[in-house]
């Protein structure tokens, strides 16, 4: 299933409204194209996460969980990708000194449930890419399978569905990027989309 930008924004606003009601921290940011003056909107969430220190060193083969944990800042951007006609997940993680986590760190943070698949096919899952709007290096969940995911979840553009496809998609990939999604996104007041 592919979606238009207007549909994407509709889903995004609905998503954001629910986030506001549970204080989940999602905001809508605007980017103004200096050449055309057009405005692009996207969802942004910035949060702090505690990371156990042993993960900070992927080369350390000894596994010992330390009490001590390190704070990292995670920023998630859900953009609309016109080429794939689908949502596109960009994210970044950095330490409190402003240093970005390396891609090895990012892989090590992937939820254990999907870790094996990601390790086998690292570059199809998460790659590093310049942010399309700011040009700063960001990590990205490769969007080529997004429409496929949505199709597999039974979301089709012709069918009327009773949930927000953006929420569905985001909850599918959230384990890849260490994003916690509150369960209430799933059973909030049912809204119907056409």
């Amino acid at each position: 299933m592919s979606m238009t930008y207007d549909q994407f924004m509709e889903y995004a606003l609905d998503f954001k409204n629910h986030s506001d009601s549970i204080d989940d921290g999602w905001n809508i940011h605007e980017y103004k194209n200096q050449m055309t003056g057009s405005i692009i909107k996207y969802l942004v969430k910035k949060e702090m996460q505690k990371m156990n220190k042993f993960l900070a060193n992927p080369h350390n083969s000894e596994f010992h969980l330390e009490e001590d944990s390190e704070t990292i800042i995670c920023e998630y951007h859900v953009l609309y990708n016109p080429s794939y006609s689908s949502p596109d997940m960009f994210f970044n993680m950095w330490f409190t000194n402003g240093k970005l986590l390396s891609i090895e760190h990012i892989w090590s943070r992937v939820h254990s449930f999907v870790k094996q698949q990601v390790n086998n096919d690292k570059w199809n899952a998460i790659t590093q890419k310049e942010h399309p709007l700011s040009g700063i290096p960001f990590f990205r969940v490769h969007p080529c399978k997004n429409t496929h995911i949505l199709d597999n979840l039974g979301v089709s553009s012709v069918k009327t569905f009773e949930f927000n496809p953006l929420t569905t998609w985001l909850s599918t990939i959230s384990s890849l990027v260490g994003l916690e999604m509150h369960l209430s996104y799933g059973h909030k007041n049912i809204v119907s989309y056409n």
Partner: protein
């Protein structure tokens, strides 16, 4: 410093009981920087501050959701508050960017902290901080940025007063025990009506009948100062970043000082302090209530002599010491380009050709002889493959007809005819990709049959040396004879050479030079450009008309041939430099030569063995060069036919002629014997 370390060690001595009650310890702030903060630091230092050590004012943000951090990003340098972050609280600060690492290290940190603290105290004394409570939590950054290496040294201070000491009269309680749900609602709506500058610090009064009123800090202080007996209870409220249950966050420390400074009359009373925790949406449900009083020596801390400051941030190891961050990976554009280029190539390896050896390509030293249409095209394709070392040899200058076909040149290169191709091409490569190691050698290739120049001998030595020091030689000059010496030298040094040559609508790409061991065919060498072309190179430029002086080809031919030359090289070194003809590497077959024709868009891959009498790569020629170098070269340059004589080609040609005569005389059986005798004589 010792005072602040005591204070910061909040967890360990929480139960530290003194006569007055439990000593109140505050959770210090930590700094949290966004990567784009550093981008802004660089930009300001380079474009605005330059060599001045400027005190810049900054805005930081913190929140009341259990994270004791002051966060800064690129917007921190704006003097206007970013209202998008309305769920956050403001802290004001300054940044001092030192010019050298020495002035960063050597400046007196105690003096500096005192300076920071005095600035804050002035705002407290003047009452400015009461009008605008967002200047109560302050921070200062001492910084040194190495903008060449993108390394930053920085040290945050969150200045506060070392004295007085505060005590808790009882165990802190959850605010829910005191306030009703209705009062919480009133608190939230009152909070939301406050200006963003007032939200971090304010006051509430509550009456016994459950009413509650939010007031600004100034109004609250007025209430305290008037000290009238009322039937309501007043509370001091602050947004609490602390994530520790029984310890308030750092902003309270400054707030208490400010209050007690302006309200000396209450220094004996107990202050009810609400630590606002959570968010308006969650109705600050985790807020705490602290009952705080001063130590018995109530004047301590307010006398000028007692004033001492604390607040330097500890580093990640818990030591009072500057932090350090190396951001070259993110900020150095050259490193970024390098990583992106490598990543693109690695994707090829990871996704399609797992056996692809990218290192051997990257490390190859490539010599391109002739920086024309083919040379430019080859250089660009080599760069695409991640090759890091490219050297050009060319003696010409960029002319007006060049830039449209030769992809490394621009019109500006042609003006006044003063740019050499070799240097311009090497420079262009660096402009495209700064990490490349490119060189341009302006040198003409000595050619057989051309009147020898004075510096020819020198050039031969230089060329020989260059070929010896490179791994692969791309032979892409525009005349046949200029290929002779490099072909011979490549054979001599046993280097892989790739020759590309163009016709109007045809092209030839072939590899030669190295000794090839092919057991099946007993082939030792693959044929060079001259092996299949049995005349010695003469001066082909002499008889050329004007339109022949430059290469007359369909423009696409050079792009095809240049690209094929590079792909042939890449395929070949996947195996080894001396892969036999039509061997197979991880990228497929490695032909000996590729010939293509644009008239019918056909391509063939013939394999031609080397010719033992070749005028460029035969043993005889190479040995003669090695053994009688001076004499050999003199002969080659002076006499166009010398090479043919040396290799026996002259004989061969004569033999051919004789065979023809023989055929003519074939019918005449009687004369045949006589004729044979004559031929033998002629050969001698």
């Amino acid at each position: 410093m010792s005072t602040s370390s005591e204070t910061a060690n909040i967890i360990e001595n929480m139960d530290n009981l003194v006569g007055d009650g439990t000593l109140l310890r505050f959770q210090p702030f930590s700094s949290c920087l966004d990567p784009n903060f550093w981008f802004k630091v660089c930009q300001l230092k380079l474009d605005v501050d330059k060599l001045e050590e400027v005190h810049r004012s900054l805005i930081g943000y913190y929140d009341s959701k259990s994270s004791p951090f002051v966060s800064l990003d690129c917007s921190s340098f704006n003097q206007e508050v970013n209202y998008e972050t309305s769920s956050k609280y403001i802290a004001h600060g300054h940044c001092l960017n030192k010019n050298t690492i020495d002035s960063f290290k050597n400046c007196d940190k105690n003096e500096l902290l005192k300076e920071f603290g005095e600035r804050m105290l002035n705002d407290f004394r003047s009452g400015k901080a009461i009008e605008d409570p967002s200047i109560i939590p302050v921070f200062d950054i001492l910084m040194y940025s190495d903008l060449k290496k993108f390394i930053f040294y920085y040290w945050f201070a969150f200045p506060s007063l070392a004295n007085p000491k505060y005590y808790l009269t009882d165990t802190p309680t959850i605010l829910k025990n005191t306030f009703s749900a209705a009062q919480f609602d009133l608190l939230v709506s009152g909070f939301q009506n406050l200006n963003i500058n007032q939200r971090g610090f304010f006051g509430v009064v509550s009456t016994d009948d459950g009413n509650l009123k939010v007031m600004t800090l100034k109004q609250y202080i007025d209430v305290l100062q008037n000290n009238v007996e009322n039937d309501f209870t007043n509370y001091l409220v602050f947004a609490d970043p602390s994530d520790l249950l029984n310890n308030p966050g750092w902003p309270l420390r400054n707030l208490l000082y400010l209050i007690l400074l302006h309200c000396p009359s209450i220094r004996n009373s107990v202050l009810r302090v609400i630590a606002l925790r959570g968010s308006p949406t969650s109705k600050f449900s985790t807020s705490m209530l602290f009952n705080i009083k001063l130590s018995s020596n109530i004047e301590m801390g307010f006398q000028p002599d007692d004033i001492a400051f604390v607040g330097w941030e500890k580093n990640s190891k818990g030591i009072f010491c500057p932090k350090y961050v190396d951001l070259s990976k993110t900020m150095d554009s050259k490193k970024q380009a390098r990583e992106s280029v490598d990543l693109n190539l690695k994707l090829m390896k990871w996704r399609i050709a797992p056996d692809l050896n990218l290192d051997v390509i990257a490390q190859s030293k490539c010599l391109i002889i002739g920086a024309g249409t083919l040379g430019c095209c080859i250089a660009r394709n080599l760069m695409s493959w991640g090759v890091r070392n490219i050297t050009f040899i060319d003696s010409g200058k960029v002319s007006y007809s060049n830039p449209v076909r030769q992809s490394l040149y621009k019109h500006a290169h042609c003006i006044n005819a003063n740019t050499y191709k070799a240097t311009a091409a090497a420079e262009a490569l660096r402009e495209i990709y700064p990490e490349i190691n490119s060189k341009g050698v302006v040198m003409s290739i000595p050619m057989p049959g051309h009147a020898a120049n004075i510096d020819d001998h020198e050039n031969i030595n230089l060329l020989s040396e260059l070929i010896e020091n490179h791994d692969v030689i791309f032979l892409v000059t525009d005349s046949r004879e200029s290929r002779w010496l490099p072909t011979m030298l490549s054979t001599l040094h046993n280097k892989l050479a790739i020759t590309a040559a163009l016709g109007f609508d045809s092209y030839l790409v072939l590899r030669h030079g190295v000794v090839v061991q092919d057991v099946s065919t007993n082939e030792k060498k693959l044929g060079c450009y001259f092996c299949n072309d049995v005349t010695a190179p003469g001066n082909s430029l002499v008889d050329r008309t004007l339109d022949q002086q430059c290469t007359v080809t369909r423009p696409g031919v050079s792009s095809i041939a240049g690209a094929l030359a590079v792909e042939l090289f890449v395929s070949c070194i996947q195996l080894k430099y001396n892969a036999p003809a039509n061997a197979t590497s991880c990228l497929g077959v490695i032909p000996h030569s590729i010939r293509g024709f644009l008239c019918d868009f056909q391509q063939i891959m013939p394999c031609t063995p080397s010719f033992f009498q070749c005028i460029a790569c035969s043993l005889k020629v190479v040995n003669d060069f090695l053994n009688n170098r001076e004499e050999f070269l003199l002969n080659v340059f002076r006499n166009p036919n010398y090479l043919e004589d040396l290799t026996g080609l002259t004989d061969l040609k004569n033999k051919f002629e004789n065979i023809q005569i023989l055929e003519l005389n074939d019918s005449d059986v009687e004369d045949s014997e006589t004729y044979n005798d004559q031929t033998v004589t002629a050969i001698d």
